[in-house]
């Protein structure tokens, strides 16, 4: 079998997984897409192992490793998604934005009242210094 078939198939699988990771909203579907990408890699590993006629079969061994790691990863990932869903009633990634930079009204450089407040504070400290002097 020519190498191009498994290579094309694995790249198609990888791109599908990539699309799923970047575009899906449901966390479970995102995890499934990650699995797709891992399996695309596995396919590549096995195909190249055969094509290179590796006597040690390092590609196959690594595939087994990846499957084991993927199983562990999906287990933890699903547990997290379950916990998040229980806590918040949703598993929609778009709504899970706790890591976003909070909107601080004092920090906006384009807010004109902000700089005035800073200048006022400076003046006030100056006056205080003069009064004590």
């Amino acid at each position: 079998m020519h190498l191009v078939y498994p290579a094309v198939l694995s790249s198609l699988l990888f791109c599908t997984g990539l699309y799923g990771v970047l575009a899906r909203r449901n966390a479970i579907l995102v995890l499934m897409s990650v699995e797709l990408m891992l399996n695309a890699v596995n396919l590549n590993l096995v195909a190249f192992d055969v094509w290179l006629r590796d006597t040690l079969h390092a590609g196959q061994a690594l595939t087994l490793f990846v499957i084991a790691v993927a199983a562990a990863e999906i287990g933890i990932g699903l547990a997290i998604v379950l916990a998040v869903y229980r806590g918040r009633g949703t598993s929609d990634i778009d709504k899970l934005r706790d890591a976003a930079e909070p909107r601080d009204p004092h920090d906006d450089p384009y807010d004109p009242s902000d700089t005035a407040a800073v200048a006022d504070a400076a003046d006030a400290t100056d006056e205080k210094a003069e009064a004590t002097a």
Binding site: L22, A23, D94, R97, A100
Partner: protein
Amino acid sequence: MTTTTLAVLVPLLPFLGAVAGLLLGRTVPGLVRPLAVLPTLAALVLAVVVAVDQGGGNGNGTAALNTHTQLTPTGSVPIELALHIDGFAALVAVLVGVVATCVQIYSTGYLRDDPRYPSYAALVSLFTSAMLLVVYSGDLIVLLVGWEVMGICSYFLVGHYWETPEARAASLKAFVVTKLGDVPFLIGLFALAADAGSFRITTVLGKAASSGGLDHPTLIALLLLAGVAGKSAQFPLHTWLPDAMAGPTPVSALIHAATMVAAGVYFIARLLPVFAASQAALIVLAVMAAVTMAGSALAALAQDDIKRVLAYSTVGQLGYMTGALAVGDRDAAVFHLLTHGGFKALLFLAAGVIIHAAGTNSLSAMSRMKDLRDRVPDAFWTMTVALLALAAIPPFSGFFSKEAVLGAAEHTATGDQHGVPAVTGWIVLVAGLLTALLTAAYATRLWLLAFNGRGGEAPDHGRQPVVMNVVLWVLAIPSLALGLVTGVLPDWFDGRSLTPALTTSVLGTGVALVGGLVTYGAWRHTTAMAAIGAASGATPDATPDAVPDADPGRLLLGPLYRHAAVGFHLDGAYAALFVRPVRAAASLVQFLDRAVVDTYVRAAAETPKALGWAVRRAQTGNVQTYLSALLAGTVVLVVAVVLVATAGA
């Protein structure tokens, strides 16, 4: 103990007293008074012992005490802890001890209810110690240490009542104005040391007397004069002294009459050969003295505050001393310093009692009080003695010392004094006689207004503490009797005769009597007018201003009165010349700082802030966005690596 040990203890004891007073003042209040009085008293006793040990100083052949020790090498020109005690130093130290002891004892009564008395007493002790250091020191840098310690103590003591804005302003003014003179003074000391190769006074004097002399005598003398003018309140740096009366009255007596302002005069007297090496410096000194004494006497005639009258009279009497130095006679200058220290301290302390009794500083208010003299009989009699001494009426002490000054001036004017230009003699003589007239006039005015008032009863503030009155009588002794020592004093000094000469005695006493009588006549006239005015102005709508007061100064000075009352607008001129330009420069600097420099600083802060804001906007919290950016970055990197690899191949 050797004389040297005793002499070292003289400045050291008040210093230790000051340190102990500052440390223990709060914790052991019972020790404050002994710690204030006893070290000063001990220093006085030791100063007397040192003076007796020194015998007659130079005049009768006793060599001046000269010892020195070097603590550590200090570079090219060595600085040594040196003592140089001649007759001048010994007697001035006794004067300082007497006045300081009297002031400390008086203060225990005067400031008995003051919450800040411990720090006050400690500062007075420190001040005394600094003045004694100046007097005894034989090294110019060590002398400068005492000189500057006095400056800072004066600042603290004038600002003793720092709750009042006047005291704060006066203390700052005293400090800044004297510092203004101290900067050229320091440079002058360095120049002197560079020329003489030593800071030791004996070496400097030896170099000045040697055939080569100093290299830059005029420059050095003028630089040193600036510091002396600041410390001794000579024109044009005298403006701090009248304002310094915002301090407690004993402080005025100690600092601003008898000791600190005497330091400048004493300094010139010590280094007179250096000044005499430059005729220009002597002429400048004479003009300075003449302007100071005549101007201050006019200003004293127009003051309403009793302490300001005394302050201006201090300025004027210091003018006499610098005048005597300008004609090259330090014997007369230091003699006047001694007598003036005695009677001026007495005047201030008596004024403190009077102010206490009258409840006011104002002479015109006192002139509306009847029987003030019966309330304070001790102050009345001692003040009368001191005023007679001030006005140089024989046989009080001021007469002898002032005649010595005038005699020295006359001596120089007739060309008998070698190496001193005759013109300085004339300047000092004419100004001195004019000032003698004015001095008698304002002394008479002060006495008449304070003790011969008409009007309501003086308020009764109860008896004064006994210590205050005792001190007054103790200080009255030198005012009465210091004239007797004119025969002995030349032995302590350079050996010139201090006995009054006939011409100047007659002239000086004559003008003094004229001044006193004219003032008395003017006072009779003004009181009569005031009585008429009060009678006619008894209608209810008459304002107090409409009633002419009994001040004879207003009649005597005429149109000059208004200007003399504000010290001839010198403060205003300084404000226009120095204060306003400095303020304008300060506001310019403020503008440059706020509008120009701060712009860069703000921009330096705003730019990273804006950048940070832009970066923070990327933190949406959406993991998929991050991953997209990661993918895009990876693609870009891979493309770049491929391109580089193919280009290299």
